[in-house]
Symmetry: C2
Subunit: 376 residues, 2 copies
């Protein structure tokens, strides 16, 4: 499997220094002088009972008071006793999953895969509730003594990052799924997005297209950035004009609206690479139904993810299929390593997606899909 992933160099060249508690010796030192609930109460200026209630979901406490306690607990790297026991001896055997958004139809399969694979290692999946703050997320994880956390890309970016930081500080193992943060040292599993972007550029250019556009999601997500980067860089290498760019919510309506804008321009594009399938299906409907264009005669469209709807006869979308099964396998591997052996060197793992040729994009003469999908 190693051959299928890329781990060349230190992927964290730009990352901020590791938090103190991530190195073995210092971590043990931290544990030796573990803070007590009394220390937390003292620092927060509240009663010990308030500390206890702040860490018990469902217990009556004002949000303000809870925030005060959690800030102090975080500052002291405080872990409630139950959690401390959980870390050293018995565990909850529960892995939390953060996946509050349900708009991308690939995620039910991600969830099903995690559910199946975690069962095989004796763990059950608990959903992190749709929390509004990293403090609340941390309180829940401590209360339920979860073994670790998987944060998927189907979650708000800034909140996910804040939760990741809090977990790192509290020594709760975290793995990011289909996302990574440039500046945080935490294991992640992503598609090989830049490579896919380059393949899309190759395919569309070789088919004779010269007017390109990229329809992406929110601009700061790693999926958007890397898929875009690979596409743009390869087009530049091929000597093509810069693609037009759209950044919209990752859904059908976003894709439809972006494509309507693009097709209303004088320099309307004849080749679209979309950062997910919902965007691509929306863009295709905009082309056909909104603008009376024929696909792929008037415009070629390529998506990303391999959602089931891409295979429907009415969509027949050429797309990059995420290898969900393999990605989840690697994510569970990384998480279980951290759970069972303690802090590990974080890995930024890329799993290649698979180009699936259907009817939405013109195919260059002599194009060989197996070459595009060769994993080496």
């Amino acid at each position: 499997m190693a051959a299928h992933t890329s781990r060349t160099g230190d992927p964290f060249d730009n990352a901020e220094p590791a938090t103190k508690s991530r190195t073995g010796n210092e971590k043990r030192a931290t544990r030796a002088k573990r803070a007590t609930s009394y220390d937390v109460a003292l620092l927060a200026g509240v009663s010990q009972s308030a500390v206890s209630r702040a860490l018990s979901p469902g217990a009556y406490i004002s949000l303000e008071l809870r925030d005060k306690v959690l800030a102090a607990a975080s500052q002291l790297s405080y872990q409630p006793n139950a959690m401390a026991r959980g870390l050293s001896t018995s565990r909850s055997r529960v892995v939390a999953l953060f996946m509050p958004n349900s708009s991308n139809p690939i995620y039910p399969f991600v969830l099903q895969n995690f559910n199946e694979r975690l069962r095989k290692v004796g763990r059950q999946v608990q959903l992190l509730p749709p929390v509004i703050s990293a403090n609340e997320a941390l309180a829940g994880m401590l209360q339920y003594q979860v073994d670790g956390l998987v944060i998927t890309a189907a979650s708000p970016l800034a909140l996910s990052k804040a939760i990741t930081r809090r977990c790192l500080a509290a020594d709760i193992p975290v793995v990011l799924f289909n996302r990574y943060f440039q500046d945080l040292r935490v294991s992640s599993i992503s598609c090989d997005n830049a490579r896919a972007g380059a393949i899309a550029a190759d395919l569309l250019f070789a088919a004779g297209h010269r007017h390109f556009a990229f329809i992406g999601g929110p601009e700061r997500t790693s999926t958007h950035i890397d898929r875009c980067k690979g596409f743009v860089a390869r087009l530049e290498a091929l000597g093509a004009a810069k693609p037009l760019m759209e950044s919209v919510p990752y859904n059908y309506d976003g894709g439809y609206a972006a494509a309507m804008r693009l097709f209303s321009r004088k320099d309307r594009p004849d080749a679209l690479f979309c950062a997910n399938d919902m965007l691509a299906i929306g863009a295709q409907d905009a082309a056909r139904l909104g603008c009376g264009m024929k696909v792929p005669r008037d415009v070629s469209i390529i998506g990303f993810d391999g959602a089931p709807m891409a295979a429907w006869a009415g969509n027949s979308l050429t797309t990059f299929q995420m290898r969900v099964d393999e990605m989840v396998e690697r994510a569970v591997e990384q998480l279980m390593l951290a759970i069972e052996r303690g802090p590990v060197a974080p890995q930024r793992i890329k799993v290649a997606s698979e180009l699936v040729i259907r009817g939405s994009a013109q195919i260059p003469k002599g194009f060989d899909v197996s070459t595009a999908n060769r994993r080496d």
Copy 2:
């Protein structure tokens, strides 16, 4: 809210007698002479250590031995101590959800709704793993001391029924979501499926159609049975010919294949009612792309569920939108009643779905959708 649901008469007329432990007095009696792990070991003819391992996921024990122990535990209504404590004092504050299938895109929204609503009552959602037997499911629920279980229709029928029986016997509160079992006394929340079937018949008949077909899912599911029953009964009342019937898996391919069969007949139907949106979208693609028909000129198609894809411009599916939010609200109400107050009289609750008119079915002159959707 009461006005929106129907609870007339005893919905359990045909149900088997309640299990002994469901009545208050006898339940207390059962608890007084609670079986111990020694009793279970004796009956199963195994060691007490084997009993303990059989109830601990991840512990090494043969499947054969575990089955033997679980059979004995079930016979004696044995509950491990941790579970017994959980029932009487502190609770795990976890609700298990059984939803192993991911093919219907309405279920991510069901999951998100449960996650949000259970958070409000201080509970977290744990997924029941993709178990292969009711014994395994029960062992997991005992081990994790879940407060209760929601079984959704996105799960195998026979297995779900077996799990429900085991939960009833073990006094674990259960609520069925989008499904019920005719012969089990357990609370359930469903759409008002028969009513929707009748409305579909009215609409299609009034639009002038006379050749009807019903494309359903597996024949023994309550969604199939009730949607079909309401459709067929109303057509009969209108004096129409019996509809042609198809029963296929609840997905796009099933709908496509069923429609291709129907449209290849000499007496090809001109009006389809499909038991879910994936079937309807598949049927519509079969009509357009497989048979060169125009929708709704040549055939009217109505779906069920209100999946996001039904609203896509390329599908524009007339459908019955499940009120997921209200259904989940009622399900959580029922479950929390049972969790907090002990055994309650089971309710079979129906929540009306909402007819949403789009482009896939001809609309009769003067048709008033608000009349069809009136909830009284």
